[in-house]
Symmetry: C2
Subunit: 204 residues, 2 copies
Amino acid sequence: MSRTIKVLLAEDQSMVREALAALLGLEEDIEVVAQVARGDEVLAAARAHDVDVALLDIEMPGCTGIEAAARVHRELPRVKLVVLTTFGRPGYLRRAMEAGADAFLVKDAPAAQLAEAIRKVLAGERVIDPTLAAAALAEGANPLTEREREVLRAAADGSTNAELAAALHLSQGTVRNYLSTAIQKLAVRNRAEAVRVAREKGWL
Amino acid sequence: MSRTIKVLLAEDQSMVREALAALLGLEEDIEVVAQVARGDEVLAAARAHDVDVALLDIEMPGCTGIEAAARVHRELPRVKLVVLTTFGRPGYLRRAMEAGADAFLVKDAPAAQLAEAIRKVLAGERVIDPTLAAAALAEGANPLTEREREVLRAAADGSTNAELAAALHLSQGTVRNYLSTAIQKLAVRNRAEAVRVAREKGWL
DNA sequence: CGTCCCGTATGACATCTGTCATCCGGTACT
DNA sequence: AGTACCGGATGACAGATGTCATACGGGACG
């Protein structure tokens, strides 16, 4: 009756990627037909191998798994999308869902959930950790504007105001204004804390 | 003629841990006899299962894989130690070796190297990525004193001088002095950069 | 014994950062 | 037409941060 499920695996750490492939290889009905290590190779590989499900890590070079998910969702809407991540950040979940993901798993969930999630999304179900879903809903939307996010991202490595101003083509005063409003919105006391909190929430 | 190799797997993310177990399970001569998710459970599990090799992730709750390695090395010197990490930080390699590790692998190395490394350490060999080894030697030793490290670690989350002083039972001026010297030793321009650089080098 | 480094501390100083009020031009919604 | 919000900017001010000189007691090492 049903053929095996063709899976694309996107994860930058080869040891983890191949280990996950070995894990999925143990399942009778699942076959990993393609592996990529970069976000920007996902779409082409998914198309070339006519996969049923794409399993995407978020943190990858090239582009994030969320961006890759959005592209696949647009170009190959038939492909089911499972997003897998180290960090259970509510903002990630929200963005993954907006990008068209069908399942969202964190890497410290039991391994059995992986194959299970793949089967469920193919059956049309959505798979989301209920705790995370609650957290994502509870915390509300990202209060930062696009510019504030940019400045905060750029400030994350310890750049000074002068460097930020130069890099973003803004005046130093404007940089300080954005950081100041971001600091207030996040209810913290300096840029370093703002970066940390925004990161933790997946807003960065 | 030799029995199977008994391996202990220590890694906090269960999906990754079980995937690695699946990967090693494919090898005829290797058997994963124990899995733990915390650094502070390594020693007891290694002893209880009389393992030949312990495969240790560095980033774990309880204690780091490096600390766990040091304990096992002291208590069960017969057990070979393979340290596995996401981050190829030269300082990590150095500390792992000082803790008695026999092999040091990064997670973005090919999966085949894992089983290979396990066999090699049992044969008495040491397994280290040559590029990393060179980097570790090239960058020299950690220039920070113990106190400077502590202050930098505490400052990493965005705490202010006043909070650091209170937390570490120091005067504010002393905190500033330590941060200032750390900033100079790392040749950067503020605490945020100092934290970033020290992290990247594995000195934190 | 002298020298060096570490941990700790102070005070003074310059610079950086964060806040606030205020302004302008554009867009979007009512 | 009015209001609200965003991106962008300025100037003034207070407080935080980074630098430097200097000091003292304790190990370590020659």
